[in-house]
């Protein structure tokens, strides 16, 4: 599956990019995160949430092919 991933705030600092695409065999958000943890070592030390198609999802959620975003703690206002 082809997945588009967006990074924000402190996460974009770690990945050093705001967006990338990955080709993936896994089925679950958790499998995508494993790959990203390998690619970006420092990700493990960071608190973040995952959104799929602009809605927060748990790591057990199935990937649909929609846009994924890694969101550090919110700081609006």
């Amino acid at each position: 599956m082809h997945i588009n991933i967006k990074y924000f705030g402190q996460i974009a600092e770690i990945t050093n990019t705001e967006e990338e695409s990955l080709e993936l065999n896994g089925r679950l958000v958790s499998e995508l995160l494993e790959i990203l943890n390998q690619k970006y070592n420092k990700l493990k030390s960071i608190d973040f949430q995952v959104a799929q198609n602009q809605e927060l999802v748990s790591i057990e959620t199935e990937l649909t092919g929609a846009e994924i975003a890694l969101l550090p703690p919110f700081a609006g206002g």
Partner: protein, 147 residues
């Protein structure tokens, strides 16, 4: 008088006092309104480990953020008898002392505006993917987290 259409919430840079004054002025033709309540978020020059915050640089997951603002707006209108509601949030750099969030609710009666405003501000803080980089005077930074 209901005013439910989606609006652009994000503004580049600080929200000025002129903009706020003008927004108040525009509501003086709406003579069913008896009470306005306005929340303003202002960037604090916090001192952290001996360094002082000079600005916050805001970024957002804009598509999701606009969707969340829209949901907050819809649910505020459903819960409360509001005549109008406006939300503006800064993106980019906002210096200490400048305003980064402007939430404005109006209703015929005052009880409603107090409840509605707090509901909206808390929802923005909790649900909207906005990120803040606190820039210190020496140009180092740390990432802001809402408490």
């Amino acid at each position: 008088m209901k005013d439910k259409k989606p609006k652009s919430v994000f503004k580049e840079g600080a929200i000025t006092s002129d903009f706020i004054g003008n927004s108040i002025y525009k509501h003086q033709t709406k003579t069913s309104i008896g009470a306005h309540n306005i929340f303003l978020g202002q960037v604090r020059a916090d001192e952290i480990d001996g360094k002082t915050v000079s600005a916050i640089e805001y970024t957002a997951y804009e598509d999701m953020a606009n969707q969340k603002f829209h949901e907050i707006r819809e649910s505020a209108f459903a819960k409360f008898d509001l005549t109008c509601m406006h939300i503006y949030h800064s993106l980019g750099t906002v210096k200490a002392g400048e305003i980064c969030l402007f939430v404005f609710v109006s209703s015929p009666r005052r009880k409603v505006v107090f409840e509605a405003l707090e509901f909206i501000v808390e929802a923005i803080k909790a649900d909207v993917p906005v990120f803040g980089k606190e820039i210190f005077e020496d140009e180092s930074h740390q990432w802001k987290v809402n408490s």
